[in-house]
Each structure stands twice: as structure tokens, then as C-alpha cells.
């Protein structure tokens, strides 16, 4: 009962903040609503008893990635670009068509049954970190190593793009 209430309140907050992200007039406000969004997602993880994932969400996403977004947004200081087309409602109409297409796709995925919610395995043990660690280093070792190579490539790419001279 409490979990259901918590889920619905958090879901409403997440969707609300998400809507505010795309409709905010100032880009910095957009980014701040994104932070609030991520904090609510972390709260959702806590209701699912994945506390490690929740603090990692806050630490990495809200506290690391979005901080760097905010740097870029504040320094670049974009204004809304002037409309490229003469019909101002074109964007709204295109957006509506795309939204309907995505919704149809989602309904189709659930109807065919490709995305089934996983059977709940009962309460997670409090040893979140140990479970995740074991899974990462045994079952999911190769994806883990590949992800770290991906990050290394991204880092080298960023350094090469941003360097003055090597």
C-alpha cells in the first residue's frame, strides 16, 4: 500500500519534471529540472530496495554528468533559435505525429510480449554491492570490460578534440 503510493507519487513527479525539462524557457532551468528528475528516479530505486543503484544514480548522473552539462549550458548560453519555417504550428504537428508513432510502437512491443516485467525475486538482500559485484565479475564480465574500453575511447577522443597541441 505504501509502496504503491510511493510509486505513483514518484512516477508523477518524474513525468512532471520530465515535461518541465522540455518546456522550460531557460536552458539552465531545463537542466535543473533534469537533476530533480534524476533524484526522483533514485528515490524510485530506493523503493525497489536497490540502495546502491540509488546512490550511484545520484553520484554519477545527478552529481557528475549533469554538472558537466550545466557547465556547458552556462558557458555557451544558447538562446532559442529563430523558427526555420514559416508555419509556426508545424513543429507541434510533427511532434504529435512522432509521439503517436512511438506510442503505437510501445503498445505493439507489450502486446507481442517482447518486454515482460521480470518476475519479482522477492526482497533484495541488503548486500547490494556484493551481489552487483559478483554479477559484474562473473556473469557480465565481458560487457563490463567492453564498457570500460568504450569509456577509454571516449576519454581519448575528448582529449584529442580539446587539446591545444600534443
Amino acid at each position: 500500500m505504501v509502496e504503491a503510493a510511493a510509486f505513483y507519487i514518484l512516477a508523477a513527479l518524474i513525468l512532471g519534471f520530465g515535461a518541465l525539462v522540455i518546456t522550460a524557457k531557460s536552458t539552465v532551468h531545463s537542466v535543473l529540472f533534469l537533476v530533480a528528475d534524476f533524484l526522483c528516479v533514485a528515490a524510485l530505486y530506493v523503493t525497489l530496495q536497490a540502495q546502491f543503484l540509488a546512490v550511484i544514480q545520484v553520484m554519477v548522473y545527478a552529481g557528475g554528468i549533469v554538472v558537466l552539462y550545466l557547465f556547458v549550458v552556462m558557458l555557451v548560453n544558447l538562446k532559442r533559435p529563430p523558427e526555420a519555417h514559416s508555419d509556426p504550428r508545424r513543429r507541434g504537428r510533427l511532434g504529435f505525429v512522432m509521439a503517436v508513432a512511438v506510442l503505437a510502437e510501445l503498445v505493439a512491443i507489450f502486446a507481442v510480449g517482447w518486454a515482460k516485467p521480470a518476475t519479482a525475486a522477492g526482497a533484495l538482500s541488503p548486500n547490494n554491492v556484493e551481489q552487483i559485484g559478483r554479477a559484474l565479475y562473473t556473469d557480465y564480465l565481458i560487457p563490463f570490460e567492453l564498457a570500460s574500453i568504450l569509456l577509454l575511447v571516449a576519454m581519448i577522443g575528448a582529449i584529442i578534440l580539446a587539446k591545444r597541441e600534443l
Binding site: V58, G63, N127
Partner: protein, 339 residues
């Protein structure tokens, strides 16, 4: 009912009041310590030897005029001091202050909450606190605060990496992320982790100085003596929040250092049996003693060392502390496997 709801509530109130009073008196202590180092006396007028000075400061900040710059972003301008203060205060929720007491049949735990990822919780709320600094500078709609806030937050996120690496070595030694578990691990191993991990302690201390914008890493703040820092446009209570948050962050860093490296609420030499009479001093007294010792070193360093230039600061963080911290993790891992 009493144990799950009322005891934590009372503890929260006690901890918050204690932290706020401590912050006020740390400000006074800093002025006094700097004064004595500089062979003068510091505040002496208000109260005996200036001990009521913090009350005068608080009163002054309350009644000052609250100025908002003309084209500042009002919502963000108001929210930034709150965003920087709240994480500094909620980090105290997982710090273990002492042993569990049992009064009148009710167990009073030695901390507000025992989260199984307590240490990561503290790191994550600290990274949220950075927003208050960035937004404070940006919302002031003024060039110098913006640049100062960007410098300060860049410094913070750089030293956060080195600090987190040192915490990783402590986690490796303790085998758990829970703060209570880390103190218990020090009790069971019989050694404070500061002795087992001196390099990590050293790096944590330097990183802690940089994380709280304290000397010798206080160029983003000291700019306000030269030009302006990120809180230049804030006045009255808003500035008080920033001030409070900085000193509360100092206390958080000291408390975490005490818990992780100095044995938390344990007496010195917990492995030596004939010194167990030291256990008669309550745990929270040892905790406060160690935290204040650490804080005193912060104040001492501020009074002693000259300030780093910004590029020297960043070079120190990225080229020296992070490789050293990573090397420490590797060596600790090797020793754990081989020894």
C-alpha cells in the same frame, strides 16, 4: 513505534542543533586560532573572551538587508543557498557518533540511520552540494561570481575523484560500505584505518581541504578579497547559509575522516587490553575529541600556509593526487590478495 519513529526524530533534532551550534563556534574558534598564531587576541569584546561573538554575528546576519540583483534569476538565486546547505546537513544522518545505549528499555542507537551504503550516500550528497555553488554564481547574473563559481566547482569535482579513491581503499579494508560497519571493522581488526592506510589518510586530508574550499585551496573564495567570489551578490541570511554550509561541510569532512581513519567512537589502541580503561570515556566523547582535533588542523593549516594559484591547484589534484590515490588502491588490493 517509539524506537522506529520518535527516537530518530529526537536524534535528528539533537544532531542538527549540535551541528549548527558547532558551526557558530567553529567560526569563533577560527578567528581566535588565527589571532593567536598572529600574536594577537581575536574577538574579545562580546562576552568573556569573545565567547558570545557568534550570537552577535548571527544577529547581524539576520537583520541585514536582503539584496537581490536586478536581473538575477529569482528562483535559482533563492534556491542556491538552500541547495548548498541541505546536503551538508543531511550527511550527518549516517555518521555513527557512539555506542548504542539502552535507557529505560529503549535502545538508542549511536547514529540516526544505518544505511547499508552509508559512505556512498555521503559522497553522493556532497556531489549535490556542488550545484549550490555553480547556481549561486550563475544566478547572480554577474561575470565575476560566474567565473569564480565555475573555478570552485571545477576544483571540487577534481578533488572529489582523489577523495573517492581513498575511500575505496578504506572500503576494501572494511569490506562494507556502512559507516557503522566500518567502525566495527576497525574494532575487530584492532587498528585504526589511519595507521593501516597512512597514504589514504594523507590524500583524504588534502582532498578534504580542497573539497571545502579551505586554505591553501581557497582561491575561489579569496577572490572576494581581490575581486569577488561566487557569493558576492548574496547578503544577509542567504550569505549566512553559504557560510554555514561551508563550515558544516568542514565538520562533515572531519566526521568522515574520524569515522574512517581515526576509529570513529573507539578509544585509542582498541587492541591493547590493558588500555581498555579508556573505554570508560563514552564513545561520543572520543568522536568529538577526534573531530575537533581534525578541525583544529584545518584551522592551523589556514593560519600557516600560503594559497595555491589555481593552475597549481588543478595540477596538484590531477597529476599528483589522483595517480597516487589509484596507486594506493592497486597496492592495497595486491596486499590484500598476497598477505
Amino acid at each position: 513505534m517509539v524506537e522506529t519513529a520518535i527516537v530518530p526524530l529526537i536524534m535528528i533534532v539533537i544532531v542538527l542543533v549540535a551541528v549548527l551550534v558547532t558551526v557558530m563556534y567553529i567560526v569563533l574558534l577560527e578567528r581566535k586560532v588565527q589571532a593567536w598564531v598572529q600574536v594577537r587576541l581575536g574577538p574579545m569584546r562580546v562576552g568573556p573572551h569573545g565567547t558570545l561573538q557568534p550570537l552577535a554575528d548571527v544577529l547581524k546576519l539576520f537583520v541585514k538587508e536582503d539584496i537581490t540583483p536586478a536581473r538575477a534569476d529569482k528562483w535559482v538565486f533563492t534556491a542556491a543557498p538552500i541547495i548548498v546547505l541541505v546536503p551538508a546537513l543531511i550527511a550527518f544522518a549516517v555518521i555513527p557518533f557512539g555506542r548504542d545505549l539502552t535507557l529505560f528499555g529503549i535502545t538508542i542507537p549511536g547514529r540516526i540511520a544505518d544505511v547499508n551504503v552509508g559512505l556512498l550516500y555521503i559522497i553522493s550528497v556532497a556531489s549535490i552540494g556542488i550545484y549550490g555553488i555553480i547556481l549561486g554564481g550563475w544566478a547572480s547574473n554577474s561575470k565575476y561570481p560566474l567565473l569564480a563559481s565555475l573555478r570552485s566547482s571545477a576544483q571540487l569535482i577534481s578533488y572529489e575523484i582523489a577523495v573517492t579513491m581513498t575511500l575505496v581503499t578504506v572500503i576494501m579494508l572494511a569490506g562494507t560500505l556502512s559507516m557503522v560497519g566500518i567502525v566495527d571493522a576497525q574494532l575487530s581488526k584492532g587498528w585504526w584505518f589511519g595507521f593501516m592506510q597512512p597514504v589514504a589518510f594523507f590524500i583524504y586530508f588534502i582532498g578534504g581541504l580542497a573539497e571545502t574550499n579551505r586554505a591553501p585551496f581557497d582561491l575561489p573564495e579569496a577572490e572576494q578579497e581581490l575581486v569577488a567570489g561566487f557569493h558576492t551578490e548574496y547578503s544577509g541570511m542567504r550569505f549566512a547559509f553559504y557560510f554555514l554550509a561551508e563550515y558544516a561541510n568542514m565538520i562533515v569532512v572531519s566526521s568522515v575522516a574520524t569515522t574512517l581513519f581515526l576509529g570513529g567512537w573507539l578509544a585509542p589502541f582498541p587492541n591493547v587490553a590493558w588500555l581498555s580503561f579508556l573505554g570508560f570515556v563514552p564513545g561520543w566523547a572520543w568522536f568529538m575529541l577526534k573531530t575537533f582535533g581534525f578541525l583544529y588542523v584545518f584551522l592551523w593549516v589556514r593560519a600557516t600556509l600560503p594559497r595555491y594559484r589555481y593552475d597549481q591547484l588543478m595540477r596538484l589534484g590531477w597529476k599528483w593526487l589522483i595517480p597516487l590515490a589509484i596507486l594506493n588502491v592497486v597496492v592495497t588490493g595486491l596486499l590484500k590478495v598476497l598477505v
